[in-house]
């Protein structure tokens, strides 16, 4: 009887473990394995184990370094700006005012839209000749000549940042608003009674409560933004001249469009390693979860 009960938990775990192996460990392991091979769809007879060749090629590939730099500035600008605007909106929405329900619903709308739809909306706004943005700016006298927002090498990247910002801010707002609503009102009153202003209330009352959420949301958003491809592929395809090619876009184009799965897998492994180190360092530095363990 005792013997039976010792094995049952393991038996019950088996289906889940098998599923995890099948859906997670095998695909990830396969990516690592493929990264050491030449796996090209257009040269099936030459596919073979090539050791570290893909990795050596990556470090001498100028497009990789440009894509890495683009990924870095993409993630930093997106996460930082989304967090700042998201927090600001969450603080506004926390207050009770007439029509706040409708305002909240409208504000969260971009988050509910698909990436392709968002791309189309922004593409229409950014069109050089018939786009509403140029029309508006010309009528206001801000610009005299229509700008190719996604075609100009100086504006393409920041045009994408703005479009992604529009989509990403609601995520922070939702998460931070939920967190802010758990702060007891008495603490704010106590802070006010002690002469604390708005900034003091934010720093000494709100912030300790939302810190965990802030760490988690920024980490999640960093990973998502690092891997984001839909908006970039649809608006610029990574161009002009790789000016908007991030590592994820380069990876997608290499593996999916060119059918070079070996090199694409090596890029995926590098991306995975970067994210792993980044996430571990961030969680360590932010002290995430330490409050719970105390």
């Amino acid at each position: 009887m005792r013997k039976k009960s010792r094995y049952i938990p393991y038996l019950l775990m088996m289906p889940t473990l098998a599923l995890l192996c099948w859906l997670l460990i095998y695909p990830v392991g396969n990516v690592f394995f493929t990264s050491f091979r030449q796996e090209m769809l257009n040269r099936p007879k030459q596919n073979a184990f090539i050791g570290m060749d893909n990795y050596i090629r990556i470090f001498s590939d100028p497009v990789f370094w440009e894509a890495l730099w683009n990924s870095f500035r993409w993630v930093v600008s997106e996460v930082l700006l989304q967090m700042v605007f998201g927090l600001g909106l969450a603080l506004i929405l926390k207050e009770r005012f007439r029509g706040c329900g409708i305002f909240r619903a409208i504000l969260f709308l971009p988050w509910a839209l698909s990436g392709v739809l968002v791309s189309l909306l922004w593409a229409m706004m950014y069109y050089e000749n018939v786009g509403v943005l140029n029309d508006l700016l010309q009528k206001l006298g801000i610009i005299s000549k229509a700008v190719a927002w996604t075609g100009n090498k100086n504006t393409a990247f920041w045009s994408l940042v703005i479009a992604e910002l529009w989509r990403g801010i609601p995520f922070f707002s939702i998460m931070l608003l939920a967190s802010l609503q758990t702060v007891p009102e008495e603490l704010y009153e106590a802070c006010r009674a002690d002469g604390g202003g708005a900034l003091a209330r934010l720093r000494y009352v709100s912030f300790p409560y939302i810190k965990e959420t802030l760490v988690l949301t920024t980490l999640l958003r960093t990973i998502w933004e690092f891997n984001s491809v839909d908006l970039i592929l649809n608006l610029t395809g990574g161009g002009p001249v790789h000016k908007t090619t991030t590592l994820a876009v380069y990876l997608a184009n290499t593996a999916r469009r060119d059918g070079n799965f070996g090199y694409g897998s090596a890029l995926a492994v590098i991306s995975f390693m970067i994210l792993l180190v980044l996430a571990a360092s961030y969680l360590k530095l932010s002290g995430f979860g330490k409050e719970d363990s105390l």
């Binding site: 769809l41 257009n42 040269r43 099936p44 007879k45 069109y127 050089e128 000749n129 018939v130 000549k145 229509a146 700008v147 190719a148 927002w149 996604t150 075609g151 100009n152 090498k153 393409a156 610029t236 395809g237 161009g239 002009p240 001249v241 790789h242 184009n253 999916r256 469009r257 060119d258 059918g259 799965f261």
Partner: protein, 468 residues
Amino acid sequence: MKKQAGKLAGMAAAVLSAALLATGCGGSQESGSAAQSDTTAAASTDAVSAAAETESEAAETEEASQEVVTLTFWDENAGESRTPYYEELIRRFNESQDHIVVEYEGIPSSSAKEKYDVAIATDTTPDIGHCNAAWGSNWVAQECLVNLDDYFAAWDGSKDINENYVRLNRELDPEGRLFMITDTVSSPLMWVRTDILKEKGVEIPTTWDEFFDAAQKLTDAANGLYGFAFRGDSSSCVELQHVLYAYSGIEDYFDDQGVCTINAPEHVEFMERYKALYNTCTAESDITNGYKEMVAAFDSGSAAMIFHNTGSASEHAAVLSPDQYQAVAFPISKTGTYSYTAGSQGGFCIFDTCEYPDEAWEFIQYMLSEDANSYWNQSIGQIPMNNKVLEEAWVDESQCTREALNILASDKCHLVSQPKYLPDYSTIMNTNNPPNFQAMLLDEMSVQEFLDQWANQMTEAYKEYQNQ
């Protein structure tokens, strides 16, 4: 009708097998001797059991022929201007069949190659695919297509199919086998907004000098009008290649030493002039223009001229009236010829995952038949590959088809064969060089450097192909 013929052939084969078995002609020596000693009881027993077996086989064959076979067909360029016509043809085919049902699946052109590649890698290909010939050599190398030689040779209608394109399809395989059959071809042309040209008092260009002059005269950037719009996306070099050879009149893609001619001095000269159009006679955003953006610029009247093949005819016809636009030949080349790179050719193939290749071939045969080929090409405004269709009245009435055929029939026309058989062709044309084209437009790379890199990649790929 064909199905009945198939059934008759099946029955005839069954009867022939029975007769062969009964007479012992088709069996081993043992059965042969048994047949010869027709007086023995054993021989008569054998004959009875063989006949019974044959009957049951024939019944099984008959039963199998009654089973409904469902085939999946992928269209690599689905959209409003094509899908309804495919659906209509498939409806007609399905109605004419008792035991074959073809199911249509449309894939947008932007993701078609990837979807096919993933399907090949995972053995989830459709039974029948329609695809761009440029992908063919890659797939032949992967050995994922069914050899169509026997089917094509046995088909009565094969004599009506354009021989040149059958030859080009054979070039996709180093051994010259046939894995793809072209049903439609789009010829590269220049589209002009005749209404805008008339308003500005500009004649349709017939020389390249006139073309560059016209682009300048037609441009009125302050009012959002540009003389020309080009393509800057992953197909930019495909469009460019047509124009380069149309300008230079160079007749061979590789010279006698196997060196690519794309960086010939004439092409460098053209590129310098072409580059000068960017952001002066074109919109700045053309650098990332896809097909849709380029066609939209033309149809909306913000660009007066574009280079594109006959494939965009239906899009223009849906928006513009016939007196507003026209398809015209590229201006005559420097050597006085119309040097044409063969346009995009789309073709049918059967994937090796197909369990019913005979039925799949039935469908391909139908699509290449005069009626279906006529309906399809008339609807999408392209050049039919069934020679009988070329004699139909609509071909003469369709302005762009007539123009394309006139050029191809001209004594001055020379077809430059594009090396679509190179496994790296798609990568060189759609991946490696479009970013360089953008860099060249933005002065981050010189024209010479851009064309040299392109030529070197092609020469290398050609050498590798020859060494295989």
